[in-house]
Symmetry: C2
Subunit: 197 residues, 2 copies
């Protein structure tokens, strides 16, 4: 028992029905827009379909559910930070650059969406959900600082390497404090550098 069909035959010169990559890109953009406008808890597949001027089955043929669609849109739309690890010649400014990149990404996605994803995609740490190849950036920065003789390598433990990133994440996601330049400076100058210098 099929539906009531009103498709018009298109005798025109170029296609009006999108397919493949073009259609996919339109859906990703629509999903992102929907997420930004209504927020994660109100994000619906139907809303995305309407916005992209397509229909639900088209979306379900590509992504199995709400969460995967959101995750895909995030990875597709969000500009990844540059691949190169900052290298200013000074540890402090390198770390501040990394922390600003992280803060930007988290702020753009929004805590509400991140919490929503983490609630549903159980047991997957944030670094796996949203990993812009930033995992090793801090290590690289610290190795360079050791090579320059700026810090001593015995000070560089795994926990201290993660510390600044962890604190920015905590600030954005758990306390909802806006992470200003002052906040970042505080984390770096009051916590991180004293431990490693």
């Amino acid at each position: 028992m099929g539906g009531f069909h009103v498709n018009k035959k298109n005798e025109g010169e170029f296609p009006t029905r999108r397919r493949g990559a073009e259609l996919e890109a339109a859906i990703m953009q629509a999903a992102w827009d929907e997420l930004m406008e209504v927020g994660f808890p109100n994000f619906t597949i139907e809303g995305v379909a309407a916005r992209a001027q397509t229909s639900k089955p088209v979306i379900y043929r590509r992504w199995p559910n709400r969460e995967e669609l959101v995750l895909a849109a995030i990875h597709k739309i969000l500009p990844a930070p540059p691949d190169e690890v900052p290298n200013t010649g000074e540890l402090r400014s390198d770390v501040i650059i990394i922390l600003n990149q992280l803060n930007d990404i988290l702020r753009k996605i929004g805590p509400e969406t991140i919490h929503g994803l983490m609630s549903v995609l159980t047991g997957i740490p944030l670094s796996e959900l949203i990993n812009f190849r930033r995992t090793n950036a801090m290590s690289t920065i610290l190795n360079r600082a050791v090579e320059r003789g700026e810090i001593r390598h015995e000070k560089v433990t795994a926990r201290i390497t993660r510390l600044p990133v962890d604190l920015v994440r905590h600030e954005v996601l758990i306390t909802y404090e806006p992470v200003s330049q002052d906040t970042i400076a505080e984390i770096v100058d009051e916590i991180f550098l004293p431990l490693i210098k």
Copy 2:
């Protein structure tokens, strides 16, 4: 157009229909059990009503929605940590006690539920959602350590006071690492104490 009613008249000696505080307690327990068994994403009001052997309107008369019901159950059922702030006479062991209490609470509620609540109750920091009057415990501990002469008061900034609690929260909620005694010791001995001593 009301429903089909099969209530039996109870001519017995004592009430079979619960009300007030007794009913409320049964609902809270049912909500907690439901949360523990099916997890936050699958938690339903209908499930709670069935489990508590009552009906949806009874629940909706008291709590406006799913999230508030969960939040109420958490606060009702979860044993709050003791009111007294630990006072062993040594900073290190006091901090370890606090961090273990925090870890216990977060583990009992579960990251999935916490993320779910934070996604829906937008903009409310974790410390307001789940505040077992622990907010000032660290301050008290540090003040006592200053009084004992164990540390100097200039070292005690707001950020350093929050640091150990922040790191445990981050570990449980963001990285999903199990917080062992070793992890807590690492946070205290490798990060916190070196900054404050």
